[in-house]
């Protein structure tokens, strides 16, 4: 079995796949790619299965040494990506030979880089997925983030197909993003005035932003109720805690919770959020459920 030797792991490099499903009733979260657009594109370039695993690199400083032939693709945040010290473009495939050094040095725009290898890394799945959820000690390499000296095994792959994503499909990572929201859950417990405030304000991303949730700062929103009976939380749900500042729940959210929710951010817009940083801005606009379902179906039809 061939693989990558991890010379430098970077500050936060994770093994992720499409996610861990059907265990939420036991309290196990979904986890999985934070930015499905970039991750699924990385797999599509390699003609991998969509639910194959890859590396999600949230901070630069990754250095890998290849022990055998394969093909890789790199997508996501704009970064300094090098093979054997030569600067390369991302959003395309590269042939990798034994001894090659792969580096992700500096993230310039966006937040998460995805590095996929042909047919994925051969690591054991736990509960049907190799996505790591550190707080649950599940998936990935021993349920933790990738660290120096880890070995990431893959099967050698000798054929090479050069593929590149067309320019018009490469996303620009803006400093302000509009997130579409389906009013749902407890929206009836927010007055029209409060909803207007919510849709007409600009919110700032706080440092409280991780794979679990994104806490915003800005205009405070008040619900007519204090709390609710704890209930299941969907991906993208927007909690309004007592301090009135929204929290968007993401891939590693807890499965149930008791804060009122004004609605849910459209899943495909949460993928855009996954490429944002502290102090960048978001605004919200409303979208109805059928339109939203159509948009999401289009997204997956194009990628799968």
């Amino acid at each position: 079995m061939s693989g990558f030797e991890v010379l430098k792991a970077g500050a936060f490099t994770l093994i992720e796949d499409f996610g861990r499903f059907s265990y939420m009733n036991l309290g196990v979260t979904n986890s999985g790619f934070m930015d499905e657009y970039a991750a699924l594109t990385a797999h599509k370039l390699l003609d991998n299965n969509f639910d194959e695993n890859l590396l999600e690199i949230a901070f630069a400083g990754l250095k890998l040494k290849a022990l055998g032939e394969t093909t890789i693709s790199v997508t996501g945040a704009k970064c300094h990506f090098k093979i054997n010290e030569v600067e390369k473009n991302i959003w395309q495939t590269y042939k990798i030979k034994k001894g090659d050094l792969i580096q992700i040095d500096k993230i310039l725009e966006g937040q998460r880089v995805y590095l996929a290898v042909k047919n994925g890394f051969k690591i054991k799945k736990e509960l049907g997925s190799s996505s790591v959820t550190i707080k649950e000690n599940l998936g990935g390499v021993e349920g933790r983030q990738v660290k120096n000296q880890d070995f990431l095994p893959y099967e050698e792959f000798k054929q090479f197909v050069s593929k590149r994503l067309k320019k018009e499909y490469i996303p620009k990572y803006e400093k302000e993003v509009k997130l579409r929201v389906i009013l749902s859950y407890q929206e009836g417990d927010f007055s029209e005035e409060e909803k207007d405030k919510f849709f007409n304000s600009t919110y700032t991303i706080t440092p409280d932003f991780n794979r679990m949730a994104c806490k915003l700062k800005g205009e405070k929103i008040k619900a007519d109720i204090d709390g609710i009976i704890s209930e299941g939380i969907a991906f993208g749900a927007i909690q309004i805690p007592k301090d009135g500042e929204p929290i968007i729940l993401l891939k590693e959210r807890q499965t149930i919770g008791g804060y009122p929710k004004i609605g849910s951010v459209l899943s495909i817009d949460c993928f855009k959020l996954a490429q944002m940083k502290t102090n960048q801005k978001v605004t919200f606009e409303s979208i109805d459920i059928l339109k939203a379902q159509k948009k999401v179906k289009l997204f997956y039809s194009a990628l799968l």
Partner: protein, 226 residues
């Protein structure tokens, strides 16, 4: 009458009631059983809680309205299943000041002796109302009125694995070390979640739980850690 509402682009939530009660919990459990029995591959997640069930579904198979119609037909007049006593799980607990970090606090708050607190906590059969927060964290109720104690003002950064705790009228076991603000009465060696077990968790919302006080030696012999 059930209420079915949008939760997100690919999730909906079914409300069976708006207060927590044993009867409402039985409604949820009957519906949950029925939904699981459908084996519908469109259901990606089914998350039952006190008065609701959240379903995440495949939007390539149903849109919100078609699924709502289907669920309304099935669930709206669903008979409530009788409780089964077969699901009773006994859990051995070492109650003591050594591991029950808040035993004293609960005793003072309830104006009872420590032994009385232990007796009241371990003599009830609890229902599982929801599972969440952590893998295998089961919300159990209802704790005897006499020992109801509010959460700590400042949550602890670390609660040891296996801690048996109460918060208001609920009780639970921490399945792994985690932060938390519940009042800790004792510790158990019983594993609430183990990824290496085929069943993952011996507990489901259909379970019933009874705690059984044991001595320190027995706790240690079961693999308990102090």
């Amino acid at each position: 009458m059930i209420k079915i509402q949008v939760a997100s682009v690919d999730s909906l939530i079914i409300y069976f009631a708006d207060v927590i009660s044993k009867e409402n919990s039985l409604k949820v459990k009957s519906a949950y059983k029925c939904l699981k029995a459908l084996n519908n591959k469109a259901f990606i997640e089914i998350i039952p809680s006190y008065t609701s069930i959240l379903i995440t579904y495949d939007i390539f198979l149903y849109d919100f309205y078609s699924l709502r119609n289907m669920l309304t037909k099935i669930l709206d007049n669903l008979p409530i299943e009788k409780e089964s006593s077969q699901n009773l799980i006994k859990i051995d607990v070492y109650y003591s000041l050594e591991v029950g970090l808040d035993l004293q606090r609960v005793a003072l708050h309830s104006n009872l002796s420590i032994d009385e607190v232990i007796k009241l906590h371990s003599s009830k059969i609890y229902d599982v109302y929801a599972i969440g927060f952590l893998p295998g964290f089961a919300y159990l109720a209802s704790v005897d009125e006499k020992i109801k104690t509010p959460r700590l003002k400042t949550p602890r950064k670390k609660i040891p694995k296996g801690s048996v705790a109460i918060a208001d009228s609920q009780t639970a076991v921490y399945p792994k070390e985690s932060p938390g603000g519940w009042n800790i009465l004792g510790r158990t060696a019983f594993n609430f979640f183990d990824k290496d077990l085929e069943a993952l968790s011996p507990i489901s919302i259909e379970s019933k739980i009874k705690f059984n006080p044991i001595c320190k030696e027995e706790f240690l012999s079961q693999g308990g850690i102090i």
